[in-house]
Symmetry: C2
Subunit: 211 residues, 2 copies
């Protein structure tokens, strides 16, 4: 059993960025990369990058840099990406459909196993390569497909209820696109991907730019 170093949240949030940047370098055939180079591509300072990697007990070579593939391996391990994660999308509206068919998920080891909705008009229709299933079947599907992550793409008014159902079915990790704050019990992690919130933060900065 290793020391189980606690990686700070701020660092965890950057690891996927480094992984993506390393992927680009790997595709380009680079075997090694220095912290300066990688930091440049990832859009952070070199010191921050090195500090972040040090939490992984990392493995650079002094005087040389990091082995690209090895570092990708280390980061993937740290993030828990060594095996595939099963995901369910709740809500088969425009956004839910786009998410269910999003190639980027599969490329990074997230398999959309099901898309569900509670609208009888939508249940049974095809989306990407799935048939939309009845939300009432959620608990069975979560169990059978070993769903670990739920993506909420329903209107704000339904989001809390869908969230409660996901939690009741045993899902402990939720990505919500609904513009509301979700209340969950301890042990459940929710990340908000609220598109309007992002625009509002941009508006703040845009407003400052104006003379």
């Amino acid at each position: 059993m290793t020391t189980m170093r606690t990686v700070p949240d701020a660092s965890v949030a950057r690891l996927p960025v480094y992984l993506g940047a390393l992927g680009v370098l790997a595709d380009r055939g680079d075997r090694t990369v220095s912290s300066d180079q990688l930091a440049e591509v990832a859009g952070v300072s070199a010191a921050k990058l090195r500090k972040d990697l040090s939490y992984l007990g990392s493995n650079g070579i002094r005087g040389v840099g990091y082995d690209v593939l090895l570092l990708m391996e280390r980061i993937s391990e740290a993030l828990g990406l060594t095996s595939e994660w099963s995901v369910a999308v709740i809500g088969a509206g425009n956004l839910g459909q786009a998410l269910a068919g999003y190639d980027g998920f599969a490329e990074r080891g997230f398999k959309v196993q099901a898309i569900l909705d509670d609208d009888a008009h939508v249940i049974g229709t095809r989306v990407a390569d799935h048939v939309v299933q009845d939300l009432a079947e959620l608990e069975r599907i979560v169990g059978e497909k070993h769903i670990a992550i739920g993506i909420i793409a329903v209107p704000a008014v339904s989001a809390q209820q869908v969230c409660d159902e996901l939690v009741a079915a045993g899902v402990q990790s939720i990505l919500s696109f609904a513009p509301t704050v979700l209340q969950v019990p301890h042990g459940v992690t929710v990340r908000r991907a609220d598109l309007s919130t992002e625009l509002q933060i941009l508006a703040f900065h845009a407003d400052k730019e104006k003379l």
Copy 2:
């Protein structure tokens, strides 16, 4: 000219959440709210909420709480949401289409004025209530429609080029859904809304939960 208090980034990122929470309270008919109540709904601590609001030079009433509508007004002002912002969506794939038709934007004062793509098969088709326009027309459209914010919903390989074109056309605020880091000149703000990154961060936490 006011003191131009600098609101910390961390606070700015929470203001939209407070605004949303206040909207729910307002719809419910509440006239005032205490920091404890609002913090509960917004999912933050009461101390943090009060500190955040204090950066707006805010206006609660001791012994009572905050006037809901007045506080919404104050936050909207601080975020620069007092007038409507014009937005263009670049990329008319699944995600771009979903974004162009997303009601949440309009509800919060962001008007999607155009959706553009560079694929001849897609240009001219209808999406939501827009006709997809040629990306080559970007600069003209940005000027005519006074586009202040660009949303990038194109594949990773095209993202940097589209970003450069937006910047060249005068857009200084960009929300990118592409899973890459974008390089931009000073004065341009980019926010990443990388869906895979969010799942990877969730995976980290989900992995920790496992016994």
